[in-house]
Amino acid sequence: MSAFNDIAKNGFWKQNPLLVQLLGLCPLLAISTSLVNAVSLGLATILVMLLANLAIASLRALIPYEIRIPVFVLIIAALVTVVDLSFNAFLHDLYLVLGIFIPLIVTNCIVLARVEAFAAKNGLAASTLDGVMMGAGFLWVIALIGGLRELIGQGTLFSGIEMIFPSLSGIQVLPADYPGFLIMMLPPGAFFTLGLLIAGRNWSEARANQRRLNQLKQAEHPGDKPAENIPPFAA
């Protein structure tokens, strides 16, 4: 079971698509202007990554190594088209909300990256889990960025939720006369927020490494004082 644990941890944190692999920046820039949009795109991405990894993992024995990329692109594009059409036909209300995001998923390189790096080399169950967890890693980061941009940019949260649940409405978090902070709503706002999140993640990892290093030193030389001045990124 520990292999499955590792897959989950990789997707969520250690190899997070947005914070570590820096994949999927195009949809991030375009969609993370509000929490509701971001979560919608995240959910659609999970669905497509699950299907793509499932399809490639089950067909991988048939795909010659030399032409794997065109075949992967073909399969992903076909799956996204089928998902798009089925949503439009059978879940039309949801399609009105998610519809514009589904074709955008094709532009998300995480899908191709996970298919190539994982599903092409692993079994069905592991690949499916990897697709879901990588999608979930994408979801929580884009949701956090969407929420921060919406809050700082226009002082609200959950605006637009009435498109999904007509009985609910967005919340004005900051005072109604909050003037807004335009740059957060524009694409640079996504880069600033993502940059700060990546810095925060690196900082917490560096601190954890430092602590581990200190414990190691303590164990080797119990009398020494713990090292304090090792710069966090020293090789």
Binding site: P64, I67, T81, V82, N88, G153, L182
Partner: protein, 236 residues
């Protein structure tokens, strides 16, 4: 250089025949062709299976959109069968053919519903849907598509307007040239009648001017538009 494995599974020792370049090239091409055929078939069948339902929901959506600018109590005919085709018209800002729907009540002309494009939004075109009554005034106006700055110029779309009680766009409800003459059909900043938000005049100006041009054009062509047989192409 090592030869890459034949497939992604480990293949047993290949025979010399299999290693010939032509054989590998043909075999790879055939596999790619097979994949293309299978997945194109998948997409095509998904398209054919969903097409009727997609078309039905697109029409329902369009009817819903028309309902926003024109209340269903205003007409009793089938709008989709009583439509005519407008050629690209500079007064409406359209660069492709659009449909114009003719609403009638008890056989009498009631209103026209049609699309207008404001070419001069802050970031590109703004698409509008207008309903103009047969007696003259604009009944209502809605933005159907735009790329205005989120949180700044997007108040032209009532869903994004923070003034939920009286969204900006409702200024254009039930208003015609008899109450606001054409030379007053501008935003206040240009010396006209209509409000705009400070700091985001361009979006409001584009919508206001486009609706004014469209209304003036309809005033000239109204009777001819109502008289034309259904599904024909309008010629000025």
């Amino acid at each position: 250089m090592t030869t890459p494995p034949d497939t992604m599974e480990n293949t047993p020792q290949a025979s010399p025949m299999q290693r010939s370049a032509l054989y590998i090239a043909l075999r790879t091409a055939a596999i790619l062709l097979a994949f293309t055929l299978v997945f194109t078939t998948l997409m095509a069948s998904a398209y054919y299976l969903t097409a009727p339902r997609v078309a039905a929901s697109a029409q329902a959506e369009k009817l819903h959109l028309i309902g926003v600018v024109l209340a269903p109590t205003f007409y009793d005919n089938d709008l989709f069968s009583d439509a005519i085709i407008l050629p690209p018209t500079s007064a409406l800002g359209t660069s492709e053919e659009t449909r114009l729907y003719r609403a009638r009540k008890n056989g009498q002309p009631a209103a026209l519903v049609f699309e207008v494009v404001a070419p001069d939004g802050y970031s590109g075109k703004i698409r509008l849907l207008l309903a103009v009554s047969h007696s003259g005034p604009l009944l209502a106006l809605r933005v159907t598509q735009h790329k205005e700055t989120p949180g700044l110029g997007d108040y032209i779309d009532p869903k994004k307007d923070r003034n939920k009680g009286r969204p900006w766009i409702t200024q254009f409800s039930d208003i015609g040239f008899d109450s606001v003459p054409p030379e007053q059909w501008r935003v206040k900043k240009d010396g006209g009648h209509f409000d705009q938000m400070a700091g985001a005049t361009i979006s409001a100006r584009a919508v206001t001017n486009a609706s004014g041009r469209a209304l003036a054009w309809i005033n000239v062509h109204r009777e001819k538009l109502f008289a034309l047989p259904a599904n024909s192409l309008y010629k000025e």
